[in-house]
Amino acid sequence: MPGTDSTILLLTELNALAASFFLLTAFGLIATRQILACLRIFVIQATFLAASAFILSYQNASGSLFIVGGITLAVKAVLIPWLLLGTLGDELRSRREISQVFNISTSLLISLILVVFAYFVSVPLLGSAPGGASSVNLPIGLAGLLLGAYAMTVRREAVPQVIAILSMENGAFFAGIAIAPDLPLIAELAAAFDVLIITRVLGVLVMKVHEHIGTTAVGDMAALKEE
């Protein structure tokens, strides 16, 4: 149980460290050129999410947060990559270079602007509530959410889009472990299960896209546009 001031200080810094690495992985998703790297970055992001959950559970002496961290690790760091590699293994390993609508340097700058925006949105929210871990987790979780949304819109291939959506949920959860630590465990379990279903559904859908349309460059699908 947390005791001395120095332990609390150390834990706060470690949590902030996990948060900053979480942010870096969110940037990494946008900056990477390889599909397998996307998956790896997602796993690293989920690990930092679990790390933050563990640190906060120790700080708040909360058992449910500990379970949340465990579930996150099990589902997002183990099960989801296993599922994706199983359904989409060839796809993940085949293509080497993936493209974006903007080039990477421009995307990095835009994502910096998004992070600053997340910061400005969070400040009034934090002003009305006591501080603590939420002052770091909320803005960075929101930034992860927005960066995932941005990554989803600029990517042109299917699998990076799926991974971007999953990282959006990571961001929302990262904020959630600090601001809503006592959400009923059933809701957390259901949400984890939901993420698994998303992966399964989207994975199978990507295979169908590959089968019937031929490529997974979904950004180029335009059969349904009005002329």
């Binding site: 200080l9 150390l10 460290l17 940037f27 340097s105 990095l108 910061y119 002052s135 960075i140």
Partner: protein
């Protein structure tokens, strides 16, 4: 007072003496990792000695810049040595002459003259390498700036001695995201500024692909010796800044006894050796980036440093 001036001079001598050794150890380590024998670790000393005893050939189309540059490149890192903590943990006589920003500018002065001299000779490869070096340099500028801002914001000062104290006392400060991320981006900066893989290949001989090495192409004799030695010193100085200020501010002398200061020398060298090992592993495991991917590398460094600032702002 005289102690402090003496220690300052000792600092400079230590840096000048051990800089080629560090470079030699790095080269040998890289070769050993690749299962080759590698040159002796004292090879840079032999090279500098040999070069000093050779004749100098200077192009008659070059100006005073070409002749002056080796001296400037040699002297500027020595000036910076006066400002940073190398052996002692407390400020020495010249410590307040300039802060980190000033030190950065002085190092940049050396690089500036090297670039000019490369263009001066009308060797076709000189300007090519010079323009690439400038591109890397100007992309690294924002990263430098943000790193300095973060560090000064966190530690409250830009004098290296004072900054270094901030990370030492509460251990929790060491794990601050501002600290760790600044370490990461500064590491990327060192790789960019000193021309290591993945930005440039320091052992390559192919002039068309050279970025940093091309500045020394035209020199011979004493000029080449000074350029080489100056390059080693700059590398050593950057390492000292990185290690003694940011990464491991321990092992520095705190008392005024001369014995302590001399004891600090092997400790500093040991720290540098550990870092050299890490650097050698990094260099051996990555491939050199294509030229137009270098902005992405520096963009990643920029983003890391901005993340450091943002997390710091969020915490306060």
């Amino acid at each position: 007072m005289e102690q402090k001036i003496l220690f300052n001079i000792v600092q400079v001598l230590v840096v000048m003496a051990f800089a080629p050794l560090v470079r030699g150890v790095l080269n040998r380590l890289k070769e050993r990792i690749q299962s080759k024998r590698g040159p002796s670790i004292f090879q840079p000393y032999f090279d500098i000695w040999k070069l000093f005893h050779k004749d100098e050939v200077v192009s008659e189309h070059s100006s005073w810049i070409f002749r002056a540059t080796p001296y400037i490149v040699f002297v500027t890192p020595i000036f910076v040595t006066l400002l940073i903590p190398v052996l002692t943990g407390y400020p020495l006589f010249f410590a307040f002459m300039a802060d980190m920003l000033g030190g950065g500018f002085i190092l940049a002065l050396g690089g500036f003259f090297a670039t000019l001299a490369a263009i001066d000779t009308a060797n076709p490869y000189g300007p090519m390498g010079a323009s690439r070096t400038r591109m890397v340099g100007f992309l690294a500028e924002p990263v430098f700036m943000i790193v300095f801002f973060t560090v000064s914001f966190v530690a409250g000062s830009t004098i290296p001695y004072i900054v270094q104290k901030h990370w030492v006392t509460p251990l929790a400060n060491f794990f601050e995201p501002a600290h760790v991320l600044v370490m990461l981006s500064f590491l990327m900066l060192i790789i960019a500024e000193t021309g290591s893989i993945p930005v440039d290949s320091p052992s390559g001989h192919f002039e068309l692909a050279m970025v940093d090495e091309s500045k020394g192409l035209e020199y011979s004799g004493r000029g080449a010796a000074l350029m080489k030695w100056g390059g080693c010193t700059k590398f050593f100085v950057l390492l000292c800044i990185f290690l003694n200020v940011l990464v491991s501010p321990w092992g520095l002398a705190h008392g005024e006894a001369i014995g302590e200061v001399f004891l600090a020398v092997p400790l500093v060298l040991a720290k540098i050796l550990v870092f050299i090992l890490v650097l050698a592993v990094i260099e051996s495991s990555l491939a050199k980036l294509r030229l137009f991917r270098i902005p992405e590398f520096l963009g990643a460094a920029f983003v890391t440093s901005v993340a450091a600032v943002i997390t710091r702002l969020l915490q306060s």
